[in-house]
Symmetry: C2
Subunit: 299 residues, 2 copies
């Protein structure tokens, strides 16, 4: 099975209580792809600048990620600088340089427009919509976003929401977009905005899924040393969508298992800076932790 993901490929400067990294490979689409490749062929749609290190493209290629729709543009790459303190629950953005992202118009390679599984990782909703229009027969569309677009491009976001099958959203964003302070009410309100399936990501507190058919909820996999939570949500999405893209239909059991896989992928992600840990993650390792997790939540 194949999945195509649109999102950012970035250079990250990150500071956490465990240390610091400069010009790491980051971005929503990088994290998504590095997890999703464990389940599926992954096609990446993104833009990089002239300064982008060749070794990062080689890294993605070596992970089996297909880069036909990655465009190199004149200018500097997208760059994010942030830090975490205390319980590492909230990223503090220190600086954002859009660079080539500000004029990005996604182009999908000819052979890729027929891919049925689509993930729109966090990026400008206008760009998400353009990608979606380029796809000929999307069957399963997952969508992520962030507070910035909720506040500054709400109308465009609401439009993309109507085309999405699954909306993956942070707890705070779910409350902000819906205006509800209760999380279950917030999820139900988001469902009424279009997407039949809502996945609320609660960071260290786990995840809640809401559809008309059922509710599902899992805690996070307990981890006692969080090295760097950057990209945990995108990694969750990669495991979740990656697993689902290999299923026919969307049975309740498949969705639940996809959420569990997303949780496990995210738990590895936070154990290293950037992609350090998920880059070397193997399917047997992932399945071993999934089995442990099942014991941790079963009664």
């Amino acid at each position: 099975m194949s999945i195509i993901v649109l999102g950012t490929v970035a250079l990250d400067n990150v500071l956490t209580p465990c240390g610091a990294r400069k010009d790491m490979l980051g971005g929503s689409a990088s994290h998504f792809s590095t997890a999703a490749r464990l389940f599926s062929d992954v096609h990446l749609v993104a833009v990089i600048g002239e300064d982008f290190p060749k070794r990062y493209m080689d890294f993605l290629k070596n992970k089996g990620i297909i880069l036909n729709s990655v465009e190199k543009m004149p200018g500097l790459s997208f760059k994010w600088e942030g830090k975490y303190e205390g319980d590492l629950n909230t990223a503090i953005t220190l600086n954002t340089r859009l660079g080539v992202l500000s004029s990005f118009n996604p182009r999908v390679a000819a052979g890729e427009t027929g891919i049925e599984n689509v993930f729109l990782a966090n990026i400008d909703p206008d760009i998400q919509m353009r990608l979606l229009k380029a796809m000929r027969r999307p069957k399963l569309v997952g969508l992520d976003s962030m507070n910035y677009w909720i506040n500054n491009k709400r109308r465009a976001l609401l439009k993309v929401l109507k085309m999405a099958d699954i909306y993956l959203v942070n707890e705070g964003e779910a409350k902000a977009l819906s205006g509800e302070s209760n999380l279950l009410k917030a999820a139900k309100a988001l469902r009424r905005m279009g997407p039949p399936m809502i996945v609320v990501k609660k960071g260290e507190h786990g995840v809640m899924f809401v559809s008309d058919a059922f509710i599902f909820s899992l805690p996070a996999y307990p981890i006692d040393t969080i090295v760097d939570p950057t990209g945990a949500g995108d990694t969750f999405a990669g495991g979740f969508m990656g697993y689902l893209s290999g299923r026919r239909g969307l049975r309740e059991a498949d969705i639940k298992k996809a959420i569990a896989y997303g949780t496990i992928c995210a738990s590895f992600n936070v154990q290293g800076f950037g992609l350090e840990r998920t880059a070397v993650l193997t399917v047997p390792e992932m399945n071993a932790r999934l089995a442990k997790f099942k014991k941790i939540v079963s009664f």
Copy 2:
């Protein structure tokens, strides 16, 4: 099976986005008992003032709770006044009147000192220690506390902790007492302070259990209208300890099921003011929601 609980019996004034109540029956031991009575004989150790309404004592008696060790003292009853806003996650204390609680010396009725299951609900740790010394052969001792005692009677609390088998603690309190910002690390640090079993209550985010043998974690049961969260933690403890008091030994499966029952009891508690909802809770209702919950967390 029998369990004896020491804690507060209070008059509560509560204001939430759903409304207000004045002079409601409240207190840690009232909430604990009202849940635990679904599983076990419950013996209550507490103090009330001369102003305490007879109908509240009748209510507890009618629920089957044994009041031989409830003492009426000259003076006013303990009273708590608080409110909740927004997502109702944090109680804002407006006023506390200790009343007769300030000179409370717990006395256990002769026939009750041999009870093997003991729960020390939130109250001054010196009073908790006195109760514990009055018991002849405690086999399973559960302990709760609150930030106030962590900050103001830390030494006394640490002493009681060493005598407890199970410490039930809020997320914030666990971090404060251990000095750890990561919850799993915090729980492990608390375990090293004495109690072999640590239950971290995370409110709407569920619960995490840590012992040397295993880790267990559950989300909360999803509720879309929280009426009044007062006493949810005590109600959790009532379901949890109540279930355990009926088991021989403490097998992993028993502990997990006890945590699930605690979660379900707490979910009913928040659906009404004070004890309104748990007062009328039946075992079949509770088991029906437990079965639903199992589906919500199983993959």
